[in-house]
């Protein structure tokens, strides 16, 4: 039976983890590779790096981070942030990423999703959607970290990128991100039920019940969280045990 996935996500800026990872004694809590190794050992099902490096010149540092991670961790790695061109994808995949997440570039140019999927295969193209509930039952795509509205319907957009060849959707409830109040389940369910591809629920996780809800009520097949893991509020093992207890198929030991 296919297991539901728990994915810790690390924000990386100029090759360093933003805010650090404090759940375990790391020699260097700011080194993404050290954090990746710790999560690998802790039983994470996949790992996600989000590159928030502001300048183009510093982007090269991410390739090195990805390369060193792929050398040490034999688990799937998704990298997102600033992916705008076919060459960005190629460089990340060649460095050792398994999947690449496209965010605003998919909004500004739909054809990019199609080109990417045709070039590298749907299996490695994740479209990252930042959604907000703008009115009850109305979900809109936002860009620029949730600051810029696009007027695009999130469910329609998810259908569209699926048809263009995306292999997976990473859906962030922007109205919940950082609040610890849980996913926007109506948004998650609306998108997950509208598409044939897997949906990763993200944004707002504060308790272990939120992870359960993302799968059971949001119909996602994976849940992504950052701070609850990085700050040591919960371990990956605790998250998985809690989800398994709720009747969700989980990969318990590697």
């Amino acid at each position: 039976m296919l297991k539901m996935r728990v994915i810790p996500c690390l924000d990386v800026k100029d090759g360093r983890v933003v805010k650090g990872v404090n759940f375990i004694d790391l020699r260097d809590a700011g080194d993404p590779v050290e954090a990746a190794k710790a999560y690998d050992k802790a039983g994470a099902d996949e790992l996600c790096f989000l590159d928030i490096t502001a300048t183009h010149e510093n982007r090269g540092t991410m390739f090195d981070v990805v390369r060193r991670t792929a050398e040490a961790c034999f688990m799937p790695l998704t990298v997102g942030g600033g992916v705008r061109a076919i060459d960005d994808i190629r460089n990340l995949l060649l460095s050792g990423a398994d999947k690449v997440a496209i965010n605003s570039a998919a909004v500004s140019r739909r054809a990019f999703v199609k080109e990417a999927a045709e070039k590298f295969g749907s299996q490695c193209i994740v479209v990252s959607i930042d959604g907000k509930e703008t009115a009850p039952g109305k979900f809109e795509v936002f860009t620029h970290g949730g600051r810029k509205e696009t007027g695009i319907d999130a469910v329609e957009f998810a259908r569209e990128v699926t048809a263009l060849g995306a292999g997976e959707i990473m859906l962030t409830s922007m109205d919940r991100d950082g609040t610890g109040k849980g996913f926007n389940l109506a948004l998650t369910r609306a998108v997950a039920d509208a598409v044939s591809i897997p949906v990763i629920a993200s944004g707002g996780v504060g308790t272990l019940d939120h992870l359960v809800e993302g799968i059971k009520e949001g119909h996602a097949t994976a849940v992504l969280a950052a701070s609850i893991f990085h700050f040591g509020t919960f371990t990956i093992a605790q998250a998985k045990a809690h989800m398994a207890k709720a009747g969700i198929p989980m990969r318990m030991a590697t």
Binding site: M1, L2, K3, M4, R5, D40, D45, R67, A70, E71, A72, F74, M75, P76, L93, L94, S95, G96, A97, D98, E118, F120, G121, S122, Q123, C124, G167, E168, S196, I197, P198, V199, T221, A222, R251, T254
Partner: protein, 217 residues
Amino acid sequence: MGKTVIIDYGSGNLHSAHKAFERAAAEAKLKEQIIVSAKPEVVAEADRIVLPGVGAFKDCRGGLMALDGMEEAMRAAVISKGRPFLGICVGMQLMATRGLEHETTKGLGWIAGDVKPIAPKDPALKIPHMGWNTITPTGQHALLDGIKTGDTGLNAYFVHSYHVECTLPEDVVATADYGGPVTAMIAYENMVGTQFHPEKSQALGLALIANFLRWKP
């Protein structure tokens, strides 16, 4: 010292495959040299051959054919000399007779079968089949030696929308359950293929790779 070559034909995550094979060899204390190469003469001389592959069947087939003399070198080593061969994901699918993804493309034709879309009985199941799943052996195979399989066994990492439907059921070594059986592993004599990614499958993957490096078919 044996030499294992991972074929570089522009497809797949060669870096992580390379590192996973090195790690598996080191952990199993096998003195195996792991090399990544696009040169037919290196493949022809190798003791073991690995064909990775991600993406679409047709693109991978095209990438392999674009390497002048590679297919002949693979045939010489695998078919004529009987060297152990491992195909991974699309690298496994290429072993089949035909790929039916988008259009019909001829495969290597080493194991009789077609590459077809997976069709889970439950329409709510997502495609691709993406994530960790257990595998159930349908026969015995040296590559699964010592690996705990079945419902309570170790998990393997899958990401695919197509699988090999073998003409001969005995060529299927293991299946995964995803709204019905999905072909997870196929084998014939000195050739074996895994639909899942051993290089991404942690404990199960490293054990299977070590078994491949020890395999004397």
